[in-house]
Amino acid sequence: MGSITLEKVSKSFGTTAVIPEIDLEVVDGEFVVFVGPSGCGKSTLLRMIAGLEDLSGGRIVIDGKDMSSEAPAKRGLSMVFQSYALYPHMSVYGNIAFPLKMDGQDKAAIDKKVKDAANILNLTNYLDRRPGQLSGGQRQRVAIGRAIVRQPKAFLFDEPLSNLDAALRGNMRLEISDLHHQLKTTMIYVTHDQVEAMTMADKIVVLNAGRIEQVGSPLDLYRSPRNVFVAGFIGSPRMNLIEGQEAAKQNAVTLGVRPEHVRISKTEGAWKGTVGVTEHLGSDTFIHVQVDGVGKITVRTDGDFSTDFGQQVYLTPEPARLHRFDANGQAIPN
């Protein structure tokens, strides 16, 4: 009911190739997240799937039908935009009803569907308001409401949470995940925030400069990144990447170890270093340590660990959790 296949899809503006050639399979009911730094082509890719951007080459197949040159409305997808793109002069009701009205459905059917959507999204009390009178989170929900009433084959989300504050973003993340479990519809979600990707996705697609770096479940990417880029991008705080002598000892050009896989001790360990900035989050503590001959290492330890600026500490990476990369940045299997 909502499988999307990209076959050798490419996009270039003039002579600049934004997306070289991409093959991707999105299975029905999956929550797929495109993640990557800004300018990596993830939004362009989403807009190509939506039909708002023409393909330079390749095919987009939705439910077995080639939709590469079909108009956006005919593809049976709906999209939630970064700016929400609500119609400012229509009420919330008008906004949610708009796609149904354009579809030519009769008043009673529209009314029922709008009320149902409002119910799911807790918007029942706001149906008469205009978008300008709503908070950011409510606007977001209206945009989602407008997307779900059409009962699309798949939802496309274009960085929908980036305009919200941190607390609200956490809430909306849960709400969207909840919605996915309720509706069981395919969702494609674009973000530059790896936390959103890790927490929501069934499958993460990591993009860099228009290329797919790795596709996999969140924990796959976390445990076995295929290359340095994915290793550095997935996980927060970032994985420590060590080059030089210490890496050469392990037969690698780059050595990666996550902050949570480094043990810190005041008395003994493999590396000796000086404590720099310490960030106390309460539950965790991030300690930035300058290690002699290795460089800056971030360590994640429990919230009760306390150190002072300039103090001597010893670090020990867990040998089993080391990631080794070759000269091309590709992972070397252990």
Binding site: A50, G51, L52, A71, P72, A73, L77, S78, M79, F81, Q82, S83, A85, L86, Y87, P88, H89, M90, F98, P99, M102, D103, R130, R146, R150
Partner: protein, 290 residues
């Protein structure tokens, strides 16, 4: 630092400008009001005397007044209709990316910089002239009888000239409104299955409604006092067919030398303009609240 002293100083510094503007407005208004109650004819100097509302009575019962009122409304309404609809269409065309867009935009705006007398003369002698005009030549080359614009369709001709002058203004304001429309809204509507016409009526037009009311308000203010175009083309004729209130007052004062009657007409025009302004401001206020 809005302390008491700075506020007092600010008022003092502003007062010359404010007082000058106030005098600029109040002196002519009071003098007109004063003249309107006098018998004051330039052909009979020295016989000025107070005659109460007699000037008003004559002006308002003059059959020419109602013809002029009708002509004024036709002129304002017709011009607004042409400029608003034409302006919307032109703005949409100019909003599309095409080669030479900058030059075309400049050309479209050009008529606004031509002064009314000149543009009326150009239209009269080069375009609408029944013998030498471009329109007549076009009509003849298709084998039709040329139209004698100012004799057969005098008011419509005036409306056409005035609309030509004001179309650039409307286009400019509406184009800027159009450019401020969020592109994602249009894309969202596209995904929602709205065709080009639905997008225009449900998104573009409501988005432009504020700009449209501004265009209507500003143009109405200026169109109520159209004068030069009439003076250099038809002189209010044939008969009274192109006489508007402004031209009627001019005729009263400078063709019949009746300063008192013209002043009464001027005051009537001011009252009429205020009635129009009252409704327009309410309309705009409603639109701006949203």
């Amino acid at each position: 630092m809005a302390t008491l002293q700075t506020r007092a100083t600010a008022r003092l510094m502003m007062s010359p400008a404010v007082i000058l503007l106030f005098l600029w407005m109040i002196v002519p208004l009071v003098m007109t009001l004063y003249f309107s109650f006098l018998r004051y004819n330039l052909l009979m100097p020295g016989t000025e005397e107070f005659i109460g509302f007699l000037n008003y009575q004559y002006f308002l019962t003059d059959p020419a007044f109602f013809t002029a009122l009708g002509n004024t409304l036709m002129l304002v309404g017709g011009t607004l209709l042409i400029t608003v609809i034409g302006g919307i269409l032109l703005a949409i065309v100019l909003d599309q990316p095409f080669w030479g867009q900058g030059i075309v935009r400049l050309l479209v705006i050009a008529p606004f910089f031509v002064m009314p007398t000149v543009s009326a003369l150009v239209w009269k002698n080069m375009l609408m002239h029944p013998v030498n005009g471009l329109f007549a030549w076009i009509a003849r080359s298709f084998g039709f009888q040329p139209i004698d614009w100012f004799a057969q369709l005098p008011l419509f001709s005036i409306i056409l000239i005035v609309a030509w002058q004001w179309l650039p203004f409307a286009t400019l304001i509406l184009l800027t409104a159009l450019q401020s429309l969020d592109g994602e809204q249009i894309e969202a509507a596209e995904m929602d299955g709205a065709g080009a016409l639905s997008r225009f009526f449900y998104l573009v037009l409501p988005h432009m409604s504020r700009a449209i009311t501004v265009v209507i308000l500003i143009q109405t203010i200026f169109l109520l006092s159209v004068f030069a175009e009439i003076l250099v083309t038809t002189n209010g004729g044939p008969g009274l067919q192109t006489t508007n209130i402004t031209y009627l007052i001019y005729a009263q004062a400078l063709l019949q030398f009746d300063v008192g009657g013209a002043s009464a007409g001027g005051i009537v025009a001011v009252i009429l303009a205020n009635i129009v302004a009252f409704f327009l401001i309410r309309l705009i206020g409603k639109n701006l609240e949203r």
